[in-house]
Subunit: 179 residues, 2 copies
Amino acid sequence: MSSIRYAVLSLLAREPLSGYDIKQYMNNRIGPFWKVGSNQVYPELAKLEEEGLVKLQGVEQLTYRPARKLYEITDAGREALVLWTLEPGGAENVRDDFLLKAYNSWLVEPEKMKAQIAEIKKQHEKKLAVYQAKVEELAAQLDPSDRSDPLASSISVVEFGVEYERLYIAWCERLMKKL
Amino acid sequence: MSSIRYAVLSLLAREPLSGYDIKQYMNNRIGPFWKVGSNQVYPELAKLEEEGLVKLQGVEQLTYRPARKLYEITDAGREALVLWTLEPGGAENVRDDFLLKAYNSWLVEPEKMKAQIAEIKKQHEKKLAVYQAKVEELAAQLDPSDRSDPLASSISVVEFGVEYERLYIAWCERLMKKL
DNA sequence: AGCATCATGTAACTTGTTACATGATTGT
DNA sequence: ACAATCATGTAACAAGTTACATGATGCT
């Protein structure tokens, strides 16, 4: 299963990157649908290289900095990624702590619960704004004549984020009204 | 963080249950927003008992079966649960493998991708049906005169599930059209 | 005969999170 | 002076998954 392996390949399929870049991208760019730590990225890159799915393109060495190791995907890597993308997989569940908290609304004073809901609503509004900006940014760069522009896929994914946050916010509002 | 601890308490706050029940409830009833294995439930119950948040209410022993240990929440447990519910917490991210697969749409043949999308769309439709049935079932039992009926909270959570699945399905449809 | 359910639990393994370590540069 | 950023990586821990073990009943 280990999906970071494929998350790494997904990014490298678009452009060569360093481990550091990959980490940054995952924590901002893809969604944020994934958060990873360096401890996952670097060992995974090493494994992928060993397996020939990825290879070192070059090392950028500035004297005052650690070497920046740029990786690129190989044909085998791209193949593995396509295979995984088409692999059947089950629908996943949500698993959000706040839903569990909402499940306990009946136990707490309505006023306190409302404050709690308002707070996470605010956070989702922030996320929504980020995703919306990202969609616009990507849409501006998109080449509509290109049938297989990676950007189109990126946009779809971020749009999911936009819709998800909208749903979340609307749900929070309804929750508050009910209390 | 360890949210199963609170998931266990959330269920026990409503009615006494055995470890087995808790496992079943989590995998069907709450959402399915959580899936847990027995390896998580039983040790957690033991820990909670040690800490006095939960206590053994009784043991139901049929000769031909393992003893069924019924647990109930204590006052301390209820208090800890309320505290956690009101604790501030950040908005979480989605983390769904299929989104990552969608991110790679541009790499694969549109026809194959469409089949893939259709498949997981079907799965989400199944989930939607389950959640909808659950909402109706709960709504029928709800006592509208009771201002703090736990069922109201349950319904809100499952409604989130309904809306989420609808969003997912609509998104899949749009994805397919774009390819 | 074989599998699912009830009911407890343990063991082994894979993931994910948090924190640490190094060390120059750039911004406040 | 102090924190953040770049850039690699390791270590320790927490959480989640899969499989196993027991053993009777009941269904196909």
